[in-house]
């Protein structure tokens, strides 16, 4: 039974390989539930090393849609949430899952579509553009994933006076995925899509797509940060989480956000209230 004993030894070694990892002195760390737009735009890769250098705290980012991120935090699976859907954030605070919310940064949404622009929305106002897309039944890709961008898209239809349930058809593709996959789909279908500028700027597989409508203030996209209420979930790492939030809204953190650029274009604009 020599071989059996040996293979057993090998197996227990393998098991020990994994067990050994928690034994290493883990640095202080927090889990931040955030959105696909902040992760996929590369923002976190730029700012988190700066924060870690300063405080030694490791930030583990789980990138989900805003709705999912808030749900994960409701279950107590995150210490901090950084998302972009103001009504959903206010609801989160009202439910008592966070004691407060702070502005961090903003960018804007842009309406993207194929260069030949079959619905003729180039340079039009936001409301008119959405009405024209619905009227021409040109293909439109929706995130359909309860993300902040999805909420903004649904609000835009409403504000344009388009009753989506009435006009929905084959042209409206609900993909139920993150910003990147939705852009990939739009790129291959030659469809219109509402995207946050950050993800668009860092997106590489653009194909024939281009920005057609910039709404400025009308398509304002603010991001807020919240510490999960430790009264709801005692496992929340209050000290480290608070340190991260304070750093984000500090002049240093705000500068780190402003400094993140792709091809010279900033992706996010700091917006913390000066204390």
């Amino acid at each position: 039974m020599d071989v059996l004993r040996r293979s057993f030894l090998t197996l227990s070694l393998l098991a020990a390989l994994d067990a050994s990892s928690p034994l290493r002195a883990e640095p202080a760390s927090i889990v931040v539930a955030s959105t696909t737009s902040t992760e996929q735009s590369g923002l976190f890769k730029h700012i988190l090393p700066l924060f870690k250098q300063k405080t030694g705290i490791e930030v583990k980012v789980v990138a989900l849609g805003t709705g999912q991120a808030l749900d994960a935090a409701r279950r107590g699976d995150a210490d901090v949430v950084l998302v972009h859907d103001r009504p959903a954030e206010d609801k989160f605070v009202a439910e008592g899952f966070a004691k407060g919310r702070q502005d961090v940064m903003y960018n804007d949404f842009v309406l993207i579509g194929p260069k030949d622009d079959p619905a003729g929305i180039r340079g039009k106002g936001v409301d008119e553009a959405f009405r024209k897309i619905a009227a021409s039944k040109a293909p439109f890709v929706s995130r359909g994933d309860r993300s902040g961008t999805h909420s903004a898209e649904l609000r835009s239809w409403k504000e344009a006076g388009v009753d989506l349930t009435a006009v929905r058809g084959d042209w409206y593709r609900d993909v139920g995925q993150g910003m990147g996959p939705a852009l990939n789909t739009a790129s291959s279908l030659g469809a219109y899509i509402l995207a946050d500028r950050g993800t668009w700027l860092s997106f590489k597989n653009r194909g024939d797509l281009t920005i057609l409508v910039e709404g400025g203030k009308r398509l304002f996209n603010p991001y807020g940060v919240m510490l999960v209420n430790p009264d709801k979930h005692p496992s929340v790492k209050v000290k480290e989480g608070q340190a991260f939030i304070e750093w984000l809204v500090s002049p240093e953190g705000q500068k780190a956000i402003a400094d993140y650029k792709i091809n010279g274009e900033p992706l996010f604009f700091p917006s913390a209230k000066k204390g």
Binding site: L11, A15, V31, T36, E39, K60, V62, G76, D77
Partner: protein, 231 residues
């Protein structure tokens, strides 16, 4: 398409230490899961093969069904169990490599058990009569047959490894694809695809295939050695 492929090859040379760390994590998680799968699945499969008890056929059917367990469902169930609001939340294991090992072990174990059962049942058809005439207990008979068929069980281990290293549904849900912590080859490939960086995604895919090839080659060498030395 050809441009993407060209870029893929040039990207392969510039893959950095991050990729190495990700590859190592993938390997570590999946090998550990397979190790656990073997520890649980081999004895279980062998016992089911040699023992005679009521409901055995149903159990075999169930085992074979579990080979087709959707990874994302395993991930989801484990997520709900490990969530802070779940029954095992106090362990704080969600979004850790340990949670990913657990998820992949759940996927690997039925596969190992089902394949072992088949191998041992075949061995039992040859030797079972003799062993039973020696009045050995079922666990003893299972032990002897495992030893006898040990080289055939390599395939079960490799199949389990293939299932573990290539799945994404479970590790994504319970691991959270956290950069530098729970990002594996498959979740990294998916992320780059989502970012539209298709050439980097393909380059990572090539690395993953290389990894699987290396593990299979190592297993084949090991098996060859073992057969020569102990066969």
């Amino acid at each position: 398409m050809s441009q993407t492929l060209q870029e893929t090859f040039s990207r392969l040379w510039t893959l950095d230490r991050d990729v190495l760390a990700i590859a190592w994590l993938s390997l570590r998680v999946s090998l550990t899961a397979v190790g656990i799968g073997l520890l649980l699945g081999v004895p279980l499969g062998a016992l089911i093969a040699v023992a005679r008890f009521p409901g055995r056929n149903a159990l075999v059917g169930l085992l074979n069904t579990f080979m087709g367990l959707p990874p994302v469902i395993v991930g989801l169930i484990l997520y709900l169990a490990l969530s802070r609001s779940g029954p095992l939340g106090a362990l704080g294991l969600l979004f850790t490599p340990t949670a990913m090992v657990a998820a992949q072990a759940v996927l690997a174990t039925p596969l190992v058990a089902a394949l072992t059962r088949q191998v041992i049942a075949d061995a039992d058809a040859h030797l079972g009569e003799q062993l039973r005439s020696l009045r050995l207990s079922a666990p003893r008979r299972a032990g002897v047959l495992i030893y006898d068929a040990r080289f055939s069980l390599f395939t079960a281990a490799l199949a389990a490894f293939g299932r573990a290293i290539s799945e994404i549904g479970a590790v994504l849900v319970v691991g959270g694809n956290i950069d530098g912590h729970t990002r594996t080859m498959t979740t990294a490939i998916s992320l780059e695809t989502q970012k539209g960086d298709l050439s980097l995604a393909l380059a990572l895919g090539a690395v993953l295939m290389g990894l699987v090839l290396a593990v299979n080659a190592a297993a084949a060498l090991l098996r060859g050695h073992a057969v020569k030395a102990y066969g």
